[in-house]
Symmetry: C2
Subunit: 138 residues, 2 copies
DNA sequence: TGACAAATAGGAGTTAATCCTATATAGTAT
DNA sequence: ATACTATATAGGATTAACTCCTATTTGTCA
């Protein structure tokens, strides 16, 4: 949670109870929730929070690289709160996105042309796949 | 276009004028269009096509790995028709997604644990960034 | 050429995301 | 502490994105 305060100060985001609750919910979330799923979770702590606030908070967190956004075929937007170095498997059939860990990928070097032009917040390898379950189905 | 026919036969997709038009529009598209942008383009060739058909076609193409789906903070779903090996830069501020090419990334080996469990259709490195323009703004 | 499953258009319906405005509140300076 | 100001919020209204439904059409294969 100190990390949350540090990040907010860095980006001039006020530390409100709503933002704190959203952050806390994300840190506890091991899935890749939709905005609505986050909303449902946060409401337990903070019953009066509005969906709009959750959406705005998620967008601002993602603009500062605190969380990542992901998407798969035929599915809505999802957020990825996992801050450890990790990589993604996206199943194009069921839309499930899973994290996987692979040290070799963690140490990828960003090309210097990119580093000169862009501030890199996050890097990951994304594998577009068909999972075992969906493979069986046809 | 022979490739289109091959792919359709492989996946039991009927070769309809609508599907052909969508495919053609995608192949000519060097951006990362939204479903609606694709719809607007296809209408030039195929004025009576419905948005629903475009959407269904995009989803089925993405389910077979013919195209990829991408997403950035605060933006809608986008499709990526670039079939050459390439990688992505996502600017979290303006939502722009750009392709970049880097041979070292192309030759990444998929971990054997993954290859045993999943059929890998596509692999790419995704760098979450802030672009030069957005960096200047704040 | 006929039969049938698959695909389509178009509209209706649903869900997700955004905008609007009045009110409340965090941070800062006093 | 207190007052001030810009930021953030709730809640409803609006818009946009997406999906579903049904009657009709059309590829494909025998």
């Amino acid at each position: 949670m100190e990390n949350f305060i540090t990040q907010c100060k860095k980006y001039n985001l006020r530390i409100t109870p709503q933002r704190t609750a959203v952050y806390k919910a994300l840190m506890e979330d091991k899935t890749h929730p939709t905005a609505d799923a986050v909303y449902q979770n946060v409401k337990k702590d903070c019953p009066n929070i509005s969906l709009d606030t959750v959406n705005r908070t998620l967008i601002s967190f993602s603009e500062f690289g605190i969380i990542d956004t992901v998407m798969c075929s035929g599915q809505g937007k999802k957020y990825d709160p996992n801050s450890k170095p990790h990589h993604h498997l996206k199943c194009v059939k069921c839309g499930k996105i899973s994290d996987f860990y692979h040290q070799k990928y963690d140490s990828l070097k960003v090309p210097s042309e990119v580093e000169e032009e862009f501030t890199v917040l996050n890097k990951k390898v994304v594998l577009t796949v068909v999972c075992k379950k969906c493979n069986k189905k046809g």
